[in-house]
Every structure is written in structure tokens, then in C-alpha cells.
Symmetry: C2
Subunit: 263 residues, 2 copies
């Protein structure tokens, strides 16, 4: 090859910023992002997240959660009072929503564009969300015309951290005969998702509960034209929104379902 030149432009990637642990987009590690996500979800439901709930959600020992919580509180991502549970600070919330946005955009992209199977997309996104940059996620989102919900119906937070936090009732609570539209199911249970795909029940599908056997017995559904029976555990996982006959222009769903789109 040539002679002894090549000094400047060529030296590949010399000074490698020297960070020891693998940091992703937010400057947070993968595990940290997972904690923030889990705490976000628990605290949104219950106000504060309990140590053991976080531990269960992440599949780690409670003692590990206490340890991590201390670090995150010291970093200003959590408000923590010993023995009293934990909440996100504004910074923590921002970080959590950013991770959730990445997760959901990725899920949506993989199913919509690549045809990746519904029931496997969660595990894939669970790893990719820690590796994909925000720039890439924006690329994906733009390529789909900025969807607002993922394939399981979960709302996608915006870049500036707004997200639809409405709560929905499940098929287990839906009044008999009330027409409704499925809106959401957890993406975490692959078996459940496969079964729902089998019975053609997905976000957007219209469904009615026609009968409910006593003592949490089988629930009879009308999905499209087909009638079928499901158990109570499944029914409680499938969230729906009643279809309101548009009488007035006022878009009230129900007095109990408070609409709050926080940011």
C-alpha cells in the first residue's frame, strides 16, 4: 500500500469518550430506563409505586429495587420516602415517557411496516427501546405519519411528553348489551395476544357482552358476527370504550371516565 502518511482524517475513532457503562440515548442505562418505565406505570395507576410491585414488574428481588431507588432518588429522578413508596419527579417522568415513546413507536413500526408478529413485538421493542436513538424513532414515526397508538392500543407519548392517560373499563365491567370498541390490551402477554388474534379481537374491533355467567363464569361476547365465550381473567385484560350514539355534539363518554391528557 501507499507510504507512511495517513495521520489526521484517517485515524478511525480514536478518543472514545471513555464511559464505562453502556449508556443509551437519554444518558441512562437500560436497567434505569426499565425502572422508570415500571414506576411510571405503577404510580400513574396508584399514586405511588410500592417497592414490591416494582420488584414484581421487573422480575427482580425487592432488595434490588430499594438499592436502585436510592440511586435514582439521588439523581433527582424520583421522590422517595423510606417505607412509603416512590414517585417520579418531573425529570423522571420525562425520561420515562421518552422511553415509552420509543417502545411504542418501535412496536408500531415493526408491526405496521415490517409485518413483525403482534405477539412478539413487545419483547423485541423491550430491547430496542434502549438502543434506538430519538432521531431514529422520529424517523420511524414520520414514516408512518405519526401514529398516536401502538398496535395494542396504547397511546404513544409525544416528543414533548404529552400522553393520553384516560382510563378505560374492561370487558368484565362493560354493561350487558352495551356496544363498545376495543381500545387496549397489555402487550406483555404473548399467549393472550395470539388468542385475541385468533378470535379477531384487536383495537378498533367492535364488541358486545351478551351474557355473563355468575361467579366470574364464562362471558359471552359478540365479536363482529361471531359469538364466543371467554373467561373472566381474559375479559379483565381487554379494555374497551362504549360506543355512544352521537345525539349531541358534546363528546362526553361517561362522567366517571375522566379525561386527562397530562404533560
Amino acid at each position: 500500500m501507499a507510504a507512511a502518511v495517513r495521520h489526521d482524517v484517517v485515524r478511525n475513532s480514536d478518543v472514545k469518550s471513555r464511559q464505562s457503562k453502556s449508556i443509551d440515548a437519554d444518558g441512562l442505562t437500560g436497567p434505569v430506563e426499565d425502572y422508570l418505565k415500571a414506576i411510571y406505570e405503577l404510580a400513574t395507576r396508584d399514586g405511588v409505586a410500592a417497592t414490591s410491585d416494582v420488584a414484581h414488574a421487573l422480575g427482580v428481588a425487592p432488595a434490588s429495587v430499594t438499592g436502585m431507588i436510592r440511586r435514582l432518588a439521588a439523581q433527582g429522578l424520583l421522590d422517595y420516602v423510606r417505607y412509603r413508596g416512590v414517585q417520579l419527579t418531573p425529570n423522571g417522568r420525562r425520561a420515562a415517557l421518552s422511553t415509552i415513546r420509543r417502545h411504542r413507536v418501535i412496536e408500531t413500526y415493526l408491526t405496521r411496516v415490517l409485518g413483525y408478529p403482534w405477539d412478539r413485538v413487545h419483547d423485541e421493542a423491550e430491547r430496542l427501546e434502549h438502543a434506538a436513538s430519538d432521531a431514529l424513532v422520529e424517523c420511524m414515526s414520520a414514516a408512518m405519519g405519526h401514529p398516536t397508538a401502538d398496535p395494542h392500543g396504547a397511546p404513544i407519548p409525544t416528543r414533548d411528553g404529552r400522553v393520553d392517560e384516560r382510563e378505560h373499563r374492561s370487558l368484565a365491567e362493560l354493561p350487558l348489551g352495551q356496544r363498545a370498541r376495543m381500545v387496549l390490551v397489555s402487550d406483555k402477554n404473548a399467549e393472550l395476544l395470539r388468542y385475541l388474534a385468533d378470535i379477531a379481537l384487536q383495537p378498533g374491533t367492535e364488541v358486545t357482552v351478551t351474557n355473563r355467567a355468575p361467579f366470574d363464569g364464562p362471558i359471552t361476547l359478540l365479536v363482529g358476527k361471531k359469538e364466543l365465550m371467554v373467561g373472566a381473567p381474559l375479559a379483565s385484560q381487554v379494555l374497551v370504550e362504549p360506543i355512544v350514539r352521537a345525539k349531541s355534539t358534546a363528546k362526553k363518554t361517561s362522567p366517571s371516565a375522566r379525561k386527562r391528557t397530562r404533560g
Copy 2:
């Protein structure tokens, strides 16, 4: 299968396999994959990889490399003789090529399908390669009709570990006046890639060296219809393949460029 409820299906993701460190697709950690990739590249060039070269390639201290090499050798991924450098075993080679395949398919997908910028795709792929499953990578590859080279011209290994390992000569070595086609440039230097994009020199582009100033001085190129001058360091990074006038059907490139497609 209506009746008797289904207590089984619903329990979310209870028993979480309990593995402590974050393992990806191959059952290897991110750092391990990075070492195998680096060793693959160095050992392919030089027979064995030297500790300090691996250290430099990964931006870590030589002592760290020795430590990791011991672990990988114990796992049967490397052949290691103290003070003598290191080589991949067949298993190590398989793992390295699998990671490289993921990297290059991802790079290609991001540029071709998502329009992700040429000079930033390497860093993105560097993180995604550890998170994307082989299944997803096959999806991407299929969506593009199974390309054989990434956007920088690097050959994409096949699933079964075959890869084109031909060596190419650089613009610095190309005889004056010889028409050639650019085939490859390293993806690691973003600045270089931006400049090449500027001058419209990419894999596939036809290029001729029309003059070379003495003492590694400026090199004059003909790219398309435009003439321009580049320095020796750049020229040595741009690899090309001479264009042979198809006289006979025999596809000989050059006696020195030995074609070996190992697997």
C-alpha cells in the same frame, strides 16, 4: 374452548428467567460481541489479533482486553496463547459473523428504507446490533430482497456464515488511468463519509486516478465527469475494483486479489 375460564393465559410475565446480566440474541453480552467483531476484523487481516490492537479498536485499556480474552478463551470462543495474540475458534467466528450480519443489515435498512443519513448509520447500528433479534434482522433483510452489501460497500455475511473476504486495493494503489469502481469505505469515520457524499463518491461510482503528485501529494480523481483532488490519507481509505473490459467470459479480477469466500 369456551368454558372453565383460563387462569393460565392471563398471568402476565411472572417467572422472568432470572438472568442477571443483559444478554442479547446470541446469549452473549454487548461487550463480548464487540470484542469478537474487533478480533474478527483484525485477525482476518493479520492472522492473529494483538492485544493492543484490540484495545485500540475498542477504546479500552490493554489490561481490559487481556481480561476479556481470558474469559472468551475459557468459553471456547477464542484460541489464545499468552503474549502471542488471539484468534477466533469456529464458534467465535460464527458469533462474530452473526453480529456483523446484524450490523450490516441494520445499516442497509436504515439508509435504504428509512433514509437515515449515511454518516450516522454506523453509530446507530453499533447499538442496535446488540438488541435486534435474528428474526427481526431476517425480516429487514427480506424486506430489501436480501442485499449483499451494506451502504458502505461492506459485504453482508449470510445466515450460515459465508462472507466475501476478498481484499481490495485503494485509490492510493490504483494505476494511473485505470478505470475502477468504488466498492468499499470504512463506515466508522462520519466526517470522511460526509465528504465522500459531497463529492458524490459512493460504492458503485466509477472513478479514475488521473494524476498523483509525488511525496504522497494530492491525487487527482475523475469522478463521473468532475475532476477533483484528494489527499493520500483519504485515497488509502477508499477501496476500488478495476473495471475489466469483458474480453473472455472468465471473470478474473487480478492475480493478486485472491477471491476467497470463506464460511
